[in-house]
C-alpha cells in the first residue's frame, strides 16, 4: 500500500503498477477468448484460471501490493462464481466478465492516481517507465478514467441491443476491451513506436467492431470506409514518425523536443514530419478537413459501438495529440498552433452548420462530434496547464454526454429496424416522457446549457482560450455554439412540440440499459451542478512527462 513507484521499479525493474489497469484488461480479454473456445466446458477453464488469478492476488498481497492483490483476488474468485452462477447464460457471462475486467482496470487507475503517483498536496508525479516508452502521469491517468468509465457504461448499455439485432457475437467483448486497452496505452505512450502500436491496437479492434453487424450493409460500409481511411491516416502518421526520426535520431518524445529545439536541424523536414503527424492524429479526432469519414462511420456502426467510438476514441486520441504536440513538437509550436487553431475553428463552424441539414439522428451527433473536437482543441492550442486541464475535462464531459445521448438512440433502435431519423422522434415527449427527458438533458449538455456538465466543459475551454489570448477562437466557438444549439433544439422541438405519429417508435429497455443510461444522465446533471471534485482531479492531472 505504501510503496512508491521508485520502490517498485527498484524491486522488479519494471513498474508493473504503471500499467496494471491494462494487465487487468488483457487478462479479461484472454479469459473471454478461452471461454469462447471452451464452449460448454467453460467451468473447466474458468475454475483453474480463476484460482490462478486469485493465487496471484494472494501473492501480491503478501508482497505488499494490497490494492492490486485484492483486485486480482476478488476478480479471480468472481470469475469462478460468475461462471457457475451464469452457467445457462453465456452471453450475460461474457458481459459480466468484460464489465468486471473494466471495473478492475478502473479501480487500479484510481489506485495509480491517488496512491502510486501521489506526491503530497494532491499533486501527481510525472514519470515514465519501460525505458521511457510509457508515461506515468496525469494525462495518462485521466485518459484511462475517461476511457474505462466509457467502456464500463457501454457494456451494459448495448447488451440487450446486440441481442435484439442478432449481432452479439462472442468476439464483441474481447474486441471492445482490446480497443479500450489500446486507447489507454495511446494516452500513455511516450515514444513514437509505442504510440503507433497503441494506435493500431485500438484502430484494428474498432474497424472490426464497426462492421460487427455482418448482415447490415451500412455497418459493412462503415467498417470498410473507416478501415481504408484509417489505414491511410496511420500510414501518414507513420511516415511522419519516420521523418521525425530522420531529423532527430530518436523516438523518445522528450528527446525529440530537445533535438528539435537545436538550431541546426533541417527545419523544413521537421515541419513536414509534424504536419504528417498532425494529419494522422487529426484524422482520429475528426478535425476538419480530416472529418469526412465521421458521419458515415457513426451512422453505419452499431449504436453502442458508435457511442464507444465517439466517447473513448476521442479522449485517447486527444491525449496522444496533447503528448505529441506539447512535448515532442513543443519547439515547433509557432508552426502548429496557428494551423491547429484554424482547424479547430473550421471544425466548430463546419460541424455546426452541416448538422443543421441532417435528418438522421446519428449523423447529427456525428457532426456534433466534429464540432466538439474543435472545442476540445481550443484547450490544446492554449499551450498552458489550464488548457491541458480544459481539454482533459472537456473530453470527459463529452464522453459522459455522448453515452447519455446514444443510450437513448440505443433504446429507440432496439425495436426499430431502420435508422433513427428526426422524424421517428416525433412526440417522444408524450409517448415516453422519461426517455425524451433523458435525451433532452444530453442535448442540453451538448449545447452547453447550464446546469449540465457540457456547460462546465465549454466554460473551462473558453476560459483557457481567452487566457491564452485566443479570444477570436473563443468567439467563433460561441457563434458556432449558437448555430449548434439550433439543431439540438430541433431535436427537442420534435420530441416535445410535435404530436406523435402513427408509426411512433416503441423504445425497449433492459436492466443493464437502465443502470448505465440513468447513471450517465445523473452524472451529466450532477457534475454540471457540482463539478469541483473531478475538475480538481483534471487540474491535478494536467502534468505531462517532458
Amino acid at each position: 500500500m505504501t510503496e512508491t513507484l521508485a520502490d517498485l521499479s527498484s524491486d522488479v525493474s519494471i513498474a508493473w503498477s504503471s500499467f496494471a489497469p491494462e494487465i487487468a484488461m488483457t487478462t479479461a480479454v484472454v479469459i473471454l477468448l478461452l471461454l469462447t473456445i471452451a464452449g460448454r466446458r467453460r467451468m473447466w477453464v474458468a475454475t483453474p484460471l480463476g484460482l490462478g488469478i486469485a493465487a496471484v492476488g494472494v501473492w501480491l498481497v503478501a508482497a505488499g501490493s494490497s490494492v492490486g492483490g485484492l483486485v486480482a483476488l476478488v476478480g479471480g474468485l468472481g470469475l469462478i462464481a460468475a461462471t457457475f452462477g451464469l452457467a445457462g447464460a453465456p452471453r450475460a457471462l461474457h458481459a459480466w466478465i468484460a464489465g468486471g475486467g473494466v471495473a478492475a482496470a478502473l479501480v487500479l487507475t484510481v489506485w495509480i492516481a491517488f496512491d502510486v503517483l501521489a506526491v503530497g498536496d494532491g499533486q501527481m508525479a510525472a514519470t515514465s517507465t519501460m525505458a521511457g516508452s510509457l508515461a506515468v502521469d496525469g494525462v495518462a491517468v485521466f485518459t484511462r478514467v475517461t476511457v474505462y468509465l466509457t467502456t464500463l457504461m457501454v457494456i451494459p448499455l448495448g447488451h440487450a441491443y446486440l441481442g435484439d439485432h442478432g449481432i452479439h457475437r462472442p468476439e464483441f467483448e474481447p474486441l471492445l476491451l482490446l480497443s479500450a486497452t489500446g486507447m489507454a496505452l495511446f494516452g500513455a505512450a511516450n515514444d513514437l513506436i509505442t504510440i503507433f502500436v497503441a494506435l493500431e491496437i485500438l484502430s484494428i479492434a474498432l474497424y472490426v467492431l464497426a462492421g460487427i453487424a455482418r448482415r447490415d450493409r451500412r455497418s459493412q460500409e462503415a467498417a470498410t470506409k473507416y478501415f481504408v481511411m484509417g489505414a491511410v491516416a496511420s500510414a501518414l502518421l507513420l511516415y511522419g514518425f519516420a521523418l521525425t526520426y530522420v531529423v532527430t535520431g530518436t523516438l523518445d518524445l522528450a528527446d525529440i523536443a530537445t533535438q528539435l529545439s537545436q538550431l541546426d536541424i533541417p527545419l523544413r523536414l521537421a515541419a513536414v514530419s509534424m504536419v504528417l503527424v498532425l494529419v494522422g492524429i487529426g484524422f482520429k479526432v475528426a478535425l476538419v478537413p480530416l472529418q469526412l469519414w465521421t458521419p458515415d462511420v457513426y451512422q453505419g456502426a452499431p449504436s453502442n459501438v458508435t457511442a464507444f467510438m465517439g466517447a473513448a476514441t476521442k479522449a485517447a486520441a486527444f491525449a496522444a495529440m496533447l503528448r505529441l504536440l506539447l512535448v515532442a513538437y513543443a519547439p515547433l509550436s509557432d508552426m502548429w498552433v496557428p494551423v491547429l487553431a484554424v482547424m479547430a475553428a473550421l471544425s466548430m463552424v463546419y460541424g455546426a452548420y452541416t448538422a443543421l441539414r441532417q435528418t438522421d439522428v446519428k449523423r447529427i451527433l456525428a457532426y456534433s462530434a466534429i464540432a466538439h473536437a474543435g472545442y476540445a482543441t481550443i484547450g490544446v492550442v492554449s499551450l498552458s496547464n489550464e488548457g491541458l486541464t480544459a481539454t482533459l475535462w472537456y473530453l470527459l464531459t463529452y464522453a459522459i454526454t455522448t453515452i447519455a445521448g446514444f443510450g437513448v438512440i440505443i433504446a429507440v433502435e432496439r425495436t426499430h429496424e431502420r435508422l433513427v431519423t428526426v422524424h421517428d422522434l416525433r412526440g417522444l415527449g408524450t409517448t415516453s416522457p422519461a426517455l425524451a427527458g433523458m435525451f433532452a438533458v444530453a442535448l442540453l449538455s451538448l449545447a452547453g446549457i447550464p446546469p449540465t456538465i457540457g456547460f462546465v466543459g465549454k466554460l473551462t475551454v473558453f476560459t483557457a482560450g481567452v487566457e491564452a489570448g485566443l479570444t477570436w477562437l473563443v468567439v467563433i466557438g460561441v457563434v458556432s455554439s449558437v448555430v449548434a444549439a439550433a439543431y439540438y433544439l430541433r431535436l427537442m422541438v420534435v420530441m416535445f412540440v410535435e404530436k406523435p405519429g402513427d408509426d411512433a417508435v416503441e423504445p425497449a429497455y433492459s436492466p443493464g440499459w437502465n443502470i448505465a443510461s440513468v447513471a450517465a444522465v445523473v452524472l451529466v446533471v450532477y457534475l454540471g451542478l457540482q463539478p469541483q471534485y473531478l475538475l480538481d482531479f483534471a487540474e491535478r492531472a494536467a502534468g505531462l512527462v517532458r
Binding site: P450, P451, F455, F462, T463, V474, F496, Q532
Partner: protein, 503 residues
C-alpha cells in the same frame, strides 16, 4: 426555525425547486400537483416578504448566504439581496401563486405545466439573488429551458417557430455575455467570480475604455435581447402570441426584467465609463450619439405604433410591452437617481400591469378561442366585472395618475427630461400613443352594442378568476396611491450604483 430565518434568500430560492420536485416525485393526481404548486409558491411569497421585513435599505447587499461550489475557479454559491434584487424577487414570488391559480384548470399535462412554472420561478429568483457571476449565468441560461418547454409544449399553432426563436435569440445574448464573463474573470486574475470581489478588483485596476466598450457590448447584447430593446425585440411578439396565458404572464412580468436588472447590475456597475458614453453621447465619432437613449425612444415609439395597428389583442399587449420596456431602459440609462429608481420601480409596475393584461386576455381566450379585437364588441354588457377589471388594468398600463403605472412612468420622464429633453418629449409621445391604442382597443371590445350571439353568450369571470385578479388590482391601486415604500427600498441601492457611474 432559526435556520430558515438565517438563510432566507436560499429558502426563497429552494422552495419552488422543492415544489417542482415534489410534484414530479410524489404527486399522482392533478389535484395533488395543484395544491403542491400553490403551497410551494405561497410559501415562497411568505419567505420573500419575510426578507422585506428584515431588510435594511441602506445596508447594501445583505442576507448573504455563501456555500463553496467550484473553488478551483473561484465560483461560489453566493446569494443575497439589495433593494433592486429584493423588489424583483418579491414581484416574482407574488405573481407565481397567481399564475398557478390561473392555470388551475389547465387542460393539458397539468403536472408538467406547473413544474415548469415552479422551475421558472426558481431560475428567476436565482437570477435576481445571485451574487456570483457564474451562478448568475447558470440561472440566466437555465431559465431558457422551462420557458422553451412552456412555449413549445403548450403553445399555439405556430409554437415551434416561436419557441426556437425565443431560445436562440436569448442564447446568442447569453453566450456573448459568457465571453464577457470569461474576459473579466481573466482580467481580475482568475481568482473570484463573486460580484463583490469583481467590483473591488475593477476599482483597483480599472478596465480601459476600449475594454469597457467591448464588455459593455457583450453584456448589453444579452440584456437588450432579454429586455427586449429595439431592434432585437422581434422574438417577443412571436413568443407572446404563441405562449399559453401563464407563459405570457411570466415572460412579460419576470423574464423581461432580467434585462433591466442586468443593465443595472452589470453594465452600469462595472462599465460606468462606457455606459455614460453610450447613454449621454459624450464620446466622439460613433460614441457622440446617445445610442441607449435613441434605441429606447425608438423602441417606445415603434412598439406603440405597431401596437396601434394590431388586430390581435394579445399581440397588442405584446407590442405594448416593447414600448413599456423602452421606458424602463430609458429611465435606467438616464443616469440620475430619480429616473433610474423609477426605471426599477417601473419594472415592477410593468410586471403587474402587463401580467394582469395577459391574464385577462387569457381568460377571454378561454371562453372565445379567438383574440381578434374585431370579433368582440359590447362585452361590457355581458361581462361587466371583466370589463371593469380590464379597464382598471388598462388605465394602470397607460399610467393614469393614482395607479401604479403613473408613479413609475412620470418620474422616468421627469428624470430624463432634466438630462435629455428631446428623449423625454418623444417618450411622452409614446405614453400618449399607449393611451390611444389601449383605450381604442377597449372601446372596440367592450363598448357599443352587444353584437353577435358569441358576444352575448360570453360569460363573466368565475370566482377563481376574480380571486386571481383581486390581489393584482389591490397592489396596482396600492402602489399607485402610496409608492413611497417601493422607492425607499430601491433608491439607496440605485444611488450606490450611480455613485460608481458618476466617478
Amino acid at each position: 426555525m432559526e435556520f430558515f430565518t438565517d438563510n432566507l434568500v436560499t429558502v426563497t430560492l429552494v422552495l419552488p425547486i422543492l415544489g417542482a420536485l415534489g410534484i414530479g416525485l410524489f404527486t399522482e393526481s392533478e389535484d395533488g400537483a395543484r395544491w403542491t404548486a400553490l403551497g410551494a409558491s405561497v410559501l415562497t411569497l411568505v419567505a420573500s416578504l419575510w426578507l422585506v421585513v428584515d431588510f435594511d435599505p441602506d445596508a447594501g447587499v445583505q442576507a448573504v448566504d455563501s456555500l463553496s461550489w467550484i473553488p478551483s475557479i473561484g465560483a461560489s454559491l453566493t446569494v443575497g439581496v439589495d433593494g433592486i434584487s429584493l423588489i424583483l424577487i418579491v414581484m416574482t414570488a407574488f405573481l407565481t401563486p397567481l399564475i398557478v391559480l390561473s392555470s388551475w384548470e389547465h387542460p393539458d399535462r397539468l403536472r408538467s405545466y406547473l413544474m415548469a412554472f415552479l422551475a421558472l420561478e426558481a431560475a428567476s429568483i436565482g437570477v435576481f439573488a445571485a451574487q456570483d457571476l457564474l451562478l448568475f449565468y447558470v440561472f440566466f441560461e437555465f431559465s431558457l429551458v422551462p420557458m422553451f418547454l412552456v412555449i413549445g409544449m403548450w403553445g399555439g399553432a405556430n409554437r415551434r417557430y416561436a419557441a426556437v426563436k425565443f431560445f436562440l435569440y436569448t442564447l446568442v445574448g447569453g453566450l456573448t455575455m459568457l465571453v464577457g464573463i470569461i474576459y473579466i474573470y481573466n482580467f481580475i486574475g482568475g481568482t473570484s467570480l463573486a460580484f463583490a470581489d469583481i467590483g473591488l478588483l475593477l476599482t483597483e485596476t480599472p478596465l480601459s475604455l476600449l475594454e469597457q466598450r467591448w464588455l459593455f457590448l457583450a453584456f448589453f447584447l444579452a440584456f437588450a435581447i432579454k429586455a427586449p430593446l429595439f431592434p432585437v425585440h422581434t422574438w417577443l411578439p412571436d413568443a407572446h402570441t404563441e405562449a399559453p396565458t401563464a407563459g405570457s404572464v411570466f415572460l412579460a412580468a419576470v423574464l423581461l426584467k432580467m434585462g433591466g436588472y442586468g443593465f443595472i447590475r452589470f453594465c452600469l456597475t462595472w462599465f460606468p465609463d462606457a455606459s455614460t458614453e453610450l447613454a449621454t453621447g459624450s464620446g466622439s465619432g460613433f460614441f457622440s450619439v446617445p445610442w441607449l437613449m435613441v434605441l429606447s425612444v425608438i423602441g417606445i415609439l415603434y412598439g406603440a405604433v405597431v401596437a396601434l395597428v394590431q388586430p390581435d389583442i394579445k399581440k397588442l399587449v405584446a407590442y405594448s410591452s416593447v414600448s413599456h420596456m423602452g421606458f424602463v431602459v430609458l429611465g435606467i440609462f438616464a443616469l440620475n437617481a430619480t429616473a433610474t429608481s423609477a426605471g426599477v420601480v417601473q419594472m415592477v409596475n410593468h410586471g403587474l400591469s402587463t401580467g394582469a393584461l395577459f391574464l385577462l386576455v387569457g381568460f377571454l381566450y378561454d371562453r372565445r378561442h379567438t383574440r381578434m379585437i374585431a370579433e368582440f364588441g359590447g362585452l361590457a354588457k355581458s361581462t361587466p366585472v371583466y370589463a371593469g377589471m380590464f379597464l382598471l388594468v388598462v388605465m394602470s398600463s397607460i399610467a393614469l395618475p393614482g395607479l401604479n403605472g403613473f408613479v413609475g412612468e412620470f418620474p422616468i420622464l421627469v428624470g430624463t427630461f432634466s438630462v435629455m429633453p428631446w428623449a423625454a418629449s418623444l417618450a411622452a409621445f409614446g405614453a400618449l400613443l399607449a393611451a390611444i391604442y389601449l383605450l381604442w382597443a377597449y372601446q372596440r371590445m367592450f363598448t357599443g352594442p352587444l353584437d353577435g350571439a358569441a358576444n352575448e353568450a360570453t360569460t363573466d369571470m368565475t370566482q377563481r378568476e376574480i380571486w386571481v385578479m383581486v390581489p393584482l388590482v389591490v397592489v396596482i391601486v396600492a402602489i399607485g396611491l402610496y409608492p413611497q415604500p417601493l422607492y425607499d427600498l430601491v433608491e439607496p441601492s440605485v444611488q450606490q450604483v450611480l455613485a460608481n457611474v458618476a466617478q
